[in-house]
Amino acid sequence: MDAAPEPVAEEPLLPEPAPSPTSLRRNPRRAWLRSHAEGMRSGMARLLRDPWGQLLTLGVVAVALVLPALGFVALDRIDQAAVAWRPSGDLTIFLAAGEPVERALELAATLDARPEVAEATVRSPDDALAELRTLSDFAGALSALDANPMPALVIVRLTPDGAARIEEFRSELAQRAEIDWVQVDKRWLERLESLLDLARRVILLGAAVLAFAVLLVVGNTIRLEIALKRDEIMVLKLLGAGDGHVRRPFLYIGLWYGLIGAVLALALVYAGIAAVQPAVDRLTLSYGEAVEIGGLGLRGSLALLAYGAILGWLGALVASARHLREAVPR
């Protein structure tokens, strides 16, 4: 997994040996590729030789990946739900009780003419009542009412300039006699987005701490591997193996740890979602709409696998850089 073929990293010292009578062919680039294939194979063989012995390391990697992955899935769902519940306007003006819908139409026309307003639409008390009937379980109770208690509404969408002065605009409107209350619709959404942003940062911080734990665990496993293979490393160095060649199998062991740990994490994410989905269904259906948690999707899954593989590889790189340097032939 190192970036450059070995010949680049080394400097020739002695002249090439005299051509042999059998005209042997040397191809450093293909030898480098073969060395990678061999490193990949031997790294996997090492893991398969004692799969149960690797469970602790793989488990730590999987847990370290699954926690932030689940956090991001949850945030993504809440974010999507918030988009779906996003109000159509910036301000909702509730006219005073008893004000006829014509007053609302007049107000909308006045507001529409102002430069800070992009659009002002009216929702009559009848429309509001009909919507309430559809969205709630109070249809029976509402039909028992003698009169429509809903006020006429004017829903205002502001221009960017208007949105920048939304508080000033709200205060001005609130002073008008025909207006009972002016609601800034997006405030709760802004609060939610702030909370989501905070949660995102906390998850990122947690992911960074857990990533560091993966580096330590994989690094320690590679350190033990290097100690076990010390004699072999000495022989390889004595025979002229470059640092890259010696390091490669250990990097692939790290990469396999990360990748297999990520596969386990992916399985845990989907198992976790399957376990939580019925409870989410019960909760969201009580609000009239089912929410599918879904999963990481193809891109998210691939990103998790790549993240795990890179973490494992990095852990192995750090450990091998340090401990292979100490393995000097005696």
Binding site: T22, R25, P329
Partner: protein, 230 residues
């Protein structure tokens, strides 16, 4: 000229002097023995040439290069030009005989199609034909020694450094191995053999450096053998 030692000494951290004031030259394609009692400094001399150790004093030149100037990143390329035979064989225990012998050629980037026949031939030459799939642990000590020799020969090195290469071999096999070394020398390889097997050295009648407690006390050449008692 292939190798030059100028006043080379090696003193270990605990103060033990393994070599002191050793000076000699070796021509390219020459075959020579280094002999002496245990602890005379034979292995240290070879280890200095293989850059397993660095000298405490003096200068070693190999193929026109001052070895004290060899940088860490140049070591692999330098060692790939060497053939090393170790007293303790230094075989990879989890790889079979074929893989062990193929290693120097793999490290040097040879094509697999070229490696296979060379490895088979090297194994045949040391009498291990047909044992390609045997692990080192399944071989006798003598066979392990021959496997180490095959590994040192296979890539036809420029400099062969052999530390007691016949220590575990019977006289007939030892002579056959020496014949292999002679054939390698005839192809241009410089051969240096550390051995305390005096009968073998006398039979070979090659240049011989004699060390005693780290000092070089004699350096006699093939023609001088005829004037000495065998």
């Amino acid at each position: 000229m292939s190798i030059r030692f100028e006043g080379v000494g090696k003193t270990y951290a605990e103060g033990r002097e393994a070599l002191g004031g050793v000076s000699f030259e070796v021509e390219a394609g020459e075959m020579m023995f280094v002999t002496g009692h245990s602890g005379a400094g034979k292995s240290t001399l070879l280890r200095l040439l293989a850059l397993i150790e660095r000298p405490s004093e003096g200068r070693i030149e190999a193929f026109g290069h001052d070895l004290s100037q060899v940088k860490r990143r140049q070591l692999p390329a330098y060692r790939r030009r060497l053939g090393l035979v170790f007293q303790d064989h230094r075989l990879l225990v989890d790889r079979d005989a074929f893989a062990n012998v193929a290693l120097p050629m793999i490290l040097d980037g040879y094509e697999p199609a070229d490696i296979a026949p060379r490895v088979s031939r090297a194994l045949d030459q040391v009498g291990l034909g047909g044992r390609e799939r045997a692990l080192p642990g399944e071989l006798s000590t003598g066979e392990q020694q021959r496997l180490g020799i095959a590994r040192a020969l296979v890539a036809r090195p420029q400099l062969l450094l052999a530390d007691e290469p016949t220590g575990n071999l019977d006289p007939k096999l030892a002579t056959e191995i020496m014949a292999l070394f002679v054939s390698l020398k005839e192809h241009g390889t410089t051969v240096m053999i550390a051995s305390h097997d005096l009968p073998l050295i006398q039979r070979m009648r090659k240049r011989t450096l004699v060390l005693d407690r780290g000092r070089m006390i004699d350096d006699f050449r093939p023609e001088e053998w005829y004037g000495r008692s065998a």
